[in-house]
Amino acid sequence: MLIAKVIGTVVSTIKHPAYHARKIMLVQALHLPGEKPDDAFVAVDLAQAGVGDVVLVCQEGGSTRQIMGLKDQPVRSSIVGVIDSVHLTRGE
């Protein structure tokens, strides 16, 4: 899973039925000091996250389908938690 920030929302009227009534967000991964940020990507919100929240993102289709109660549907990334705090060490 990834630690990412919700940076926006996506509005889509015509979408695959798997996404029906789901909130679709733009998320961008946080990175270690000195590294460059990755590009933002699209994720289904399964944790009532809001724009600006730091969240836990699952980037695997099987897990996302299982949480959404779907089988054989074209989904992949999902927001599965809203993060309160992290504690990061230098690995020494």
């Binding site: 940076i7 926006g8 929302t9 889509s12 015509i14 695959h16 724009v51 600006g52 705090s85 504690h87």
Partner: protein
């Protein structure tokens, strides 16, 4: 899932039976600032997207579920985007030590 913009169409008369009736569209993957990511790719279309549309797509194994039975596709357009709003995320750097976001 990722953002993209449809920039062209592919006509292929002879293709796998499971994707009959579905268009193949040339799509440029983009980031939220509309900057291109990599080369344009051909995507299977299931939501009536057209040239010029901004869309979101699924890749790899997940794309094969866009059409049932499992389609021979590794990129599928699964939504036409009306618009997206973004905030300025500020720094995305996660500092060492303890950080509270709430």
């Amino acid at each position: 899932m990722i953002l993209g913009q449809v920039i062209g169409e592919v006509i292929a008369t002879i293709k796998d039976e499971s994707v009959h009736g579905h268009k193949l569209l040339i799509t440029q993957l983009i980031n939220h600032k509309r900057e291109p990511i990599g080369r344009p790719q051909v995507a299977l279309e299931v939501v009536h997207a057209g040239v010029g549309d901004f869309v979101f797509l699924v890749r790899a194994r997940d794309a094969s579920f866009a059409v049932v039975p499992n389609a021979p596709a590794d990129l599928a357009i699964v939504g036409v985007i009306d618009h997206w709003d973004t905030i300025d995320p500020g720094s995305l750097e996660l500092p060492f030590g303890e950080t509270w976001f709430a």
